[in-house]
Symmetry: C2
Subunit: 161 residues, 2 copies
């Protein structure tokens, strides 16, 4: 693996770890972000110097988070992983589900509080309202991002030529 790739992979491992995910998952993410083609489990295990079992678990985690996708070639029983083209939209979608779960909990508890806890009820309502607000904003944001992406990246790539 090239030195600059290795360095970037480690960096992503640390940043994902700061977000509460396994460092290995971050390394897989970093590696595939730079990969020129899809990689199999064994190839990833070899490149990242970890066991196939670890790659299997963490790659599946990233797949569930909407970051990776698994592709298969005819005549090849192996699965190959690569970044999803719409990875970032998917990440935002996963975030929305978490916010929705939080909103539900906050909202239900706000209404079930006894009447003498007015302050608490008010704070819970505000918290629930905030998460509902986030939910809505994130929804429209995905569409704005699609438009933004086309414009921004066209300009960026043109500038590089």
């Amino acid at each position: 693996m090239q030195d600059i790739v290795q360095q970037f992979v480690e960096r992503m491992g640390l940043m994902m770890e700061a977000d509460g995910l396994p460092r290995s998952a971050g390394r897989i993410f970093g590696f595939l972000l730079l990969a020129e083609h899809p990689f199999s489990l064994d190839e990833l295990a070899d490149e990242l110097q970890v066991s196939k079992a670890s790659v299997s678990t963490n790659a599946r985690l990233l797949e569930q988070l909407g970051i990776l996708e698994r592709i298969s070639s005819p005549g090849d029983r192996r699965d190959f992983y690569r970044m999803r083209q719409d990875a970032w939209e998917r990440v935002m979608e996963v975030g929305r589900r978490r916010w929705e779960a939080m909103r539900v909990v906050l909202s239900e508890n706000a209404e079930s509080l006894p009447d003498e806890m007015q302050d608490a009820k008010h704070r819970l309502r505000e918290a629930a309202e905030f998460h509902g607000f986030l939910l809505g904003e994130a929804g429209t944001m995905i569409e704005r991002w699609r438009a933004h992406k086309r414009a921004a990246l066209a300009a960026s790539d043109a500038a590089a030529d």
Copy 2:
């Protein structure tokens, strides 16, 4: 502690744990979300059945995340913690800082990649662009939230009377 409070506190502990934070921090958060008045370290340790050392560490963590604030009364050497009134705006601000850090890393690496890695460079540029986009959106979102909050909560409280 009332049963309904205890249940909510545990719930918040689990949800924060799913977000990668210590469960104890989540419990403090949940408890103060329902608290009718600020609490000292010793009171929190007593209520949540954990050591004062643990409360000290986790409360400070929540303070850094912009969720809690520490207040002091004249003639009392103790510090008291309570939810910040603008906790959610602060949380969003902290998120923005993380996205900015990520954007910088992605952007720098995109430009330092060798020319033969065109695909990787394109993906990194897109990833950096996404985080920059998030950054901008979150900025304007804070202002929209302030307006939204006033309208929504006024209606909500009125309906409850």
